[in-house]
Amino acid sequence: MKFAIQINEGPYQHQASDSAYFFTKAALEKGHEVFRVFFYHDGVNNASRLTTPPQDDRNIVARWAELAEQHDLDMVVCVAAAQRRGMVDEGEMQRNGKDATNIHPRFRISGLGQLVEAAIQSDRLVVFGD
C-alpha cells in the first residue's frame, strides 16, 4: 500500500513530527511504500540543517534524513510556507536575495501541488499536526 504523510508542525514544540516519523518508519518496515512526506505550515522547520538538539535527546532532522537515505524517501517542503518561515535552499536564496541557506540537503522545496499529487497518487493520506 502507498502512503502519503503530511506534517503540520515544527520539530520539538509539538509531537507531530515524532509521531509521523514512527508511523513512516513502521510503514516502511512493513513493506509499504511511502510516496512522499510533505512538510507544511511550521512543519517546514523540520528541514533545517542548523539544529543542535541536546545530546541526551533525539535529533529530529537527522533522523528524518537517515530514514530518507535508507528508503529513498521523497521529503518535500512547501515553498510558500517555507518563505514565510525562513526555510531556504540555494534557489530560494537567489530568488529572494538572501545571503544564506539553512535547508538540509535531504529535503527539497517545492509547491503545494506536490501535496495534492501525493494525495491523488497514494492510497492513504495521513496527517500529523497540532
Binding site: M1, N8, Q15, F22, F23, V127, F128, G129, D130
Partner: protein, 102 residues
C-alpha cells in the same frame, strides 16, 4: 467506507475528541494518540462519554504514548485496544481513509 479517525489532544484541554465522537459513524475506528491517550484512562470526567462511544465505534490507544505518560495498560478502559506504531499502520491500511481531528 470505513474511516480511521485520529485524536491527538487531551479531552480536558481541547474539544477535538468530542467533535470526533459526535461525527464518527457506527463502525468507525478511533485512535487516541499523543495527548489524546488521556481520554483512554479510567476514572476521568470523560470516562462515561468514552464508554458510551464504545457502543458504536472501536477505540484504540497508542501504547508508546501511554507509557511515556506513565499510564500503565491496566489504567485503560476495558474495550479499548492498545496498539503500537505497527498497529497504527495496520489500522490506516485496513480502513479506507484516515481523518485527523487536529
Amino acid at each position: 467506507m470505513s474511516t480511521l479517525h485520529t485524536v491527538n489532544k487531551s479531552p480536558f484541554e481541547k474539544t477535538s475528541l468530542d467533535a470526533c465522537l459526535s461525527h464518527a459513524s457506527a463502525g468507525a475506528n478511533v485512535l487516541l494518540m499523543e495527548d489524546g491517550v488521556y481520554a483512554a484512562t479510567k476514572g476521568t470526567a470523560v470516562e462515561q462519554r468514552v464508554k458510551q462511544a464504545l457502543d458504536s465505534v472501536k477505540l484504540y490507544v497508542l501504547g508508546p504514548d501511554l507509557m511515556a505518560r506513565g499510564l500503565s495498560e491496566d489504567r485503560v478502559i476495558d474495550g479499548i485496544s492498545v496498539v503500537d506504531y505497527a498497529g497504527f499502520v495496520d489500522l490506516a491500511a485496513e480502513n479506507d481513509k484516515v481523518q485527523a481531528w487536529l
